[in-house]
Subunit: 239 residues, 2 copies
């Protein structure tokens, strides 16, 4: 089986009605043919990742932390209890009567799909799918929304799991910091296909092609105290 | 096979002489027992990842982009041709006679190693290994260093590959933007082991344990124009 050269351009086209509107921040200055604003593509990239990388500014300097996320329609919920005060406090006004200022964030999700080996060192690349979300994150304070967000986070990683675990009690809900970030200023970037070899390198003796990178799962490891007779549920068998 | 509850603490200890010095920015305010400054651990996390997430500040707002990296001792090289002008220009003074100001960045690398299923929704977690590097990135302008950096990037993804591909020519070296970031203000965070179930949840009927998440490789896909007789090299067979 062989693949044609970079076919990313074919994924970039999308009906405008089902796409995010590009902005100055979401139009790349290079490799524009890899950019996409397609809503379904963006959702699939976000939904398929176990972690996102959340960036914010602290004391004028950038901070990027990995954290858990989940999507509910056009809204992302992000686990804010990462040990970083700005995240836990995002959107909390200094005085309760002040409006919620929010926290400027950039949330990025990336999948590596393949190692792209060209004949030249220069044309080596990765196949990948990424999404970048710019926006303002707000602390979720409403308790019902917080419960919904917690279920969304759990079901994001393991669909169906929130129905097969003890729901958070009031103390646990209070102990969890959750941020809300709406999908509005969003872009995807995708590279697929084979290497972009230069014609003048064609006679070189180096192997060239793509090594697919895939995610897999190992054998489930039961907890020490799992009672005999509790079998692995179906939704975990089909991961 | 079963695993004990969160054993991250056992990985955090390291001889001070072989560790990065903690700073205000690299000591987490929560889950401190998961933090580590061990040099060998940091290196292994960085070396095992195909992409990093690079954060910087543009017009006062955070930007996080996935990009390629490679490590040479205590120095990281990062591919800066991501379509973002600040990265391509990092450290370029506005006037040639001015000193190189650099670009404040935060570079983060994360591996997801397992889904941690507790009996309660609240205690669900991921096993992961991450590294956060704070520092100032500088554009690599020296041509010899740039060639070294390009080889480092290629060999990072596929060890040995720089020796089995055509080296970059002058035009290609000129066309590539590379950033240098020294490993100085660095921390790792690691979660391993089983779920932290509450004792009072012990009788609940939910399966609990860890689903390992692993990286795998698919069957290599030769490029369209790979000449017959060029076999897959050994360093790709053993990935």
């Amino acid at each position: 089986m062989t693949v044609p050269p970079d076919t990313a351009a074919t994924t970039a086209a999308a009906p405008a009605s089902d796409a995010y509107a590009p902005t100055d921040r979401t139009v790349p200055t290079r490799a524009r043919e890899r950019a996409s604003y397609d809503r379904a593509l963006v959702h699939s990239i976000i939904d398929g990742a176990y972690v996102c990388h959340l960036g914010f500014v602290r004391d004028g300097a950038p901070v990027v932390l990995p954290t858990l996320h989940g999507r509910l329609g056009e809204r992302l919920y992000v686990h804010g209890s990462t040990g970083s005060r700005p995240l836990r406090m995002a959107g909390q006004p200094e005085q309760p009567e002040q409006p919620d200022p929010g926290l400027a964030v950039c949330l990025t999700v990336t999948h590596v799909d393949g190692l792209v080996l060209a004949r030249s060192a220069f044309h080596h690349s990765l196949n990948y799918r990424s999404v970048v979300v710019h926006g303002t994150a707000h602390q979720v304070t409403d308790l019902d929304e917080k419960r919904t967000a917690l279920d969304t986070l759990v079901d994001h990683a393991i669909p169906g799991r929130s129905q097969d675990s003890r729901p958070a009690n009031a103390k646990e809900v209070a102990a969890t910091a959750i941020l809300r970030l709406d999908l509005d200023e969003v872009s995807a970037k995708v590279r697929t296909g084979g290497p972009s070899n230069d014609l003048e390198d064609q006679e070189l003796p180096h192997w060239t092609g793509v090594i697919p990178v895939v995610r897999g799962y190992g054998t489930p490891i039961p907890a020490d105290d799992l009672a005999p007779g509790i079998e692995l549920p179906d939704y975990l068998k089909t991961l």
